[in-house]
Subunit: 512 residues, 2 copies
């Protein structure tokens, strides 16, 4: 079967997994029966255990779904601690359902796959050796990639049923009241983990910092927690800011950032009370700096900044340029550490952030979003999942979710090294072109033809040439040439859900 | 059938309603499948409606269960506004499932009962004309009385399935982000209403104060809310503190309060880091003042104060004598207004407060609680529901829940007017004697014989004579004589659930 973005989908797998092909970015207003966990009443029980091993072996059984959050990002210690025990105990056929997988989780995940411990994975993304292994067919069943909002939806609808959640926290009392914002290993918002805490049958908190009862604020509440495990160290907060969240000094990226800012300022959305999400891509981060100056110059303040949050966004909050920071995760130590003292840096869960299947997510109210891309094609479809070599090396993240904003800007260099970014057809379609409005590159911009209002508003910006996206694609191709077509086997190694749970694309096994 | 506190229960009704008789205060550790609401995705919909009528008629259907909170207590306007529309539209067979019913709700509830609009009620309690009407058989089906923790459990287990919740709030943005702590009609904690917001299929917020989006902190989140209705005024915060929450100047009550304080101070629980709940009864409130002085004199601070919160408790927080106030509702304007500025005045939901069926409620950690009573009998069973005339005039409240504390003190005068408080057998058994430890009256105390440790600790307090509870009952009887036995019909007008959902007692129709 083919979906509405012309991706051929494997019939057998689609039927077996009961999937529908992607049709539209419009979620509509369906009625959805939520699910709920099975809860063991724990009155009078001591939740505090010294042995992580006991917390694992008392709860995990073959075939179960276990989950983790990735708020520590590259500084995470918890995933490796738990998976070590799980592998050593010889569990089989587990489904891994973390909010995402970072590089620090790769080696042990590959080991778990090779030993048959993990046979299913759902994640926002994967990179490095794990992405490579999966792309070469290492995992028994296809990975299901979901956006942050899509994961929240899938948990709420019961498509992801978490049996045991292992959640690292920088503080907890003996009953499991915990937050992400206090303690030496604070990472700020617990946004993604709040879904696991609420919906998993069993919740195991892992912390290096037992505090007095009752611990407040309690982003995770004792009513949700079965065990609290004390370990030496849960993570390295200095590594929250590594990975995909570096600041740019690249002149080309700065040029792009400046143009992005121009697009925002000249758009109809740049007015008092507007809202924005800048994300964590290299150039996208720099936009915040330019935007700050434009807001000051024009006497404009924003009602909220959304998403994964960086210190520069917190600076805007503290300057009064942004009234609220709606924070689902923190991308650096600065943003992580400011949450406890900034009352207007509001922690939000993944469902509040981006779930299409609730009574309204923050992204529905978002004016402007700047998103990165590995590739964007001439239909404005965006790939943030696989390289031009077909290998998995990215994450859906909040990409599909935030792209529903009124003004969605994709900011990319025309080419990266010898690889075109603007292409005739994306290797993997993650975010449909229907939800993308403007492409910004270092040579100029392209505006989605369906947005005549933006064409009118943006066509005469000084120093910012407007091209068709086909022209930008041709320029890229002129620089780096046409790549050889990729060769895949017939085997599907990953399915990419759109945020509504339909399949927008699949990823095939690399032939090499 | 008879339950373990020797109450004869009506077999037919017990079977029809699928109830089990009360057996034990020990909830154990059962596994419970939670339920979840059916949610209508509202992406892009405008939730803000000017017409409360439309919010009612678009959502309410005959036979549905509708709910309200009672955080405005005697200052509530919302209940009357909504019920007026419901009655005028001629709805039939509704179940009313508020967190409680205050006197200001009586007239219209009686009207709704008389017109067949309301045929079922579940509530924490009822008083005045409504209690009288129900006691005389006005309602078609028996009222189900539940504690605050029991209501939370019943909602989570699906025994109360709320179709539409009408929740008054002192602020909300256009998407339904709301809290109870800000605005002219602030009442503080939204504790009970948080259950309705989370579990009702449809949630209608009613407010007099639409604020900028996004509104934070959001005790109720936009992800939970279907409609936001703007009205002139949702309540009168000056009347939060009326009803059952007056301060005492009665020398007898002050004597009792002083004795309660003596009991606490001489108990093994009065040590650094202890916790307490003082409740809202007349004498109980005064305990806070004596306790304050004892804490200062002994250099002792409390880890937390729990429950319905009054300004004197907030004063302890601000003085540093109490580290955290865990606040499920506010009993006066002072406590209501301080929540927004006191980070350590933590709003807690009814399930976190008192639900026996979750992974641990605050009451499980409670050291000392002072509770009031209409009657206490020689088995230490407590009645807070019906008068000695058999008429309903009270509420379970958190009584059953908090009575699970390590030291449960019932503070009452021996007699009230010509009516004995200490009696051979309570008119209605609400809180089983197994969970009650000490009775404090103005003439002396009685200690539950099963608590030999307390007898040892408290028997030699200067100026506080220790009696058997039979002796106190005899003294009461000597003062006011033996009452005539009550006459009832065979009809059951109310069932009183214990917090675990078993039936601890029933209330019969008054014969007169």
């Amino acid at each position: 079967m083919e979906n509405s973005v012309k991706r051929e989908l494997p019939d057998e797998l689609m039927n077996k997994l009961d999937y529908k092909p992607f049709e539209t970015v419009d979620f509509g207003n369906p009625e959805i029966q939520r699910v709920a966990p099975k809860v063991r009443a724990t009155t009078g029980k001591n939740k505090l255990v010294d042995s992580l091993e006991k917390a694992v072996t008392d709860n995990v059984k073959d075939g179960m779904t276990i989950s983790f959050h990735h708020h520590f990002r590259e500084g995470d210690y918890v995933f490796n601690m738990v998976m070590r025990i799980i592998i050593d105990h010889g569990y089989k056929d587990l489904t891994l359902a973390p909010s995402s997988l970072t590089n620090t989780m790769n080696d042990i995940t590959i080991e778990a796959i090779e030993k048959g411990v993990v046979t299913n994975i759902t994640s926002s993304g994967m990179r490095g050796t794990l992405g490579d292994a999966v792309s070469h067919g290492a995992l028994e069943n296809p990975v299901i990639f979901r956006s942050h909002g899509g994961r929240a939806r899938a948990i709420e609808e019961g498509n992801i049923k978490i049996d045991v959640a292992f959640l690292g926290v920088p503080n907890s009392d003996e009953m499991g009241n915990a937050n992400g914002m206090d303690g030496e290993t604070a990472f700020g918002s617990l946004g993604y983990a709040l879904m696991d805490a609420k919906y998993a049958d069993k919740v195991v908190l892992i912390t290096d910092n037992i505090v007095d009862y009752p611990n407040t604020p309690a982003s995770i509440e004792q009513t949700q927690v079965d065990y609290v495990v004390k370990v030496d160290k849960v993570g390295d907060p200095d590594k929250i800011g590594s990975g995909a969240t570096r600041f740019t000094k690249d002149p080309k990226e700065l040029k792009i950032a400046q143009t992005v800012n121009n697009v925002i300022v000249h758009s109809p959305y740049f007015k008092d009370g507007f809202s924005f999400q800048t994300g964590s891509g290299g150039a996208a981060l720099a936009v915040t700096r330019f935007l700050r100056q434009s807001m000051i110059d024009n006497g404009i303040t924003a009602s909220f900044a959304l998403g994964g949050i960086t210190k520069p966004t917190i600076d805007l909050l503290e300057e009064g340029l942004v009234k609220k920071v709606m924070d689902v995760q923190d991308f650096d130590k600065g943003a992580a550490q400011s949450m406890k003292s900034n009352r207007d840096q509001q922690e939000i869960s993944a469902t509040w952030y981006a779930d299409p299947a609730n009574k309204g997510a923050m992204v529905d109210k978002l004016d402007v979003v700047i998103l990165s891309a590995l590739e964007i094609d001439t239909d404005y479809n965006v790939n943030v999942m696989s390289g031009s070599d077909g290998v998995i090396r990215g994450a859906v993240g909040g990409h599909q979710d935030a792209a529903t904003a009124k003004l969605t800007i994709i900011s990319v260099p025309l080419v990266r090294g010898r690889i075109a970014t603007v292409v005739p057809e994306v290797t993997t379609n993650v975010t449909p072109g229907d939800s993308v409005d403007v492409l910004v590159t270092e040579v100029g911009i392209a505006i989605n033809p369906k947005r005549q209002d933006l064409i009118d508003a943006l066509q005469d910006m000084p120093g910012v040439p407007v091209y068709t996206i086909e022209e930008l694609q041709q320029m890229a191709e002129a620089k780096v040439g046409k790549p050889e077509p990729l060769e895949y086997t017939d085997r599907t190694v990953a399915m990419v859900e759109y945020r509504d749970g339909t399949i927008i694309d699949t990823i095939k096994e690399i032939k090499d």
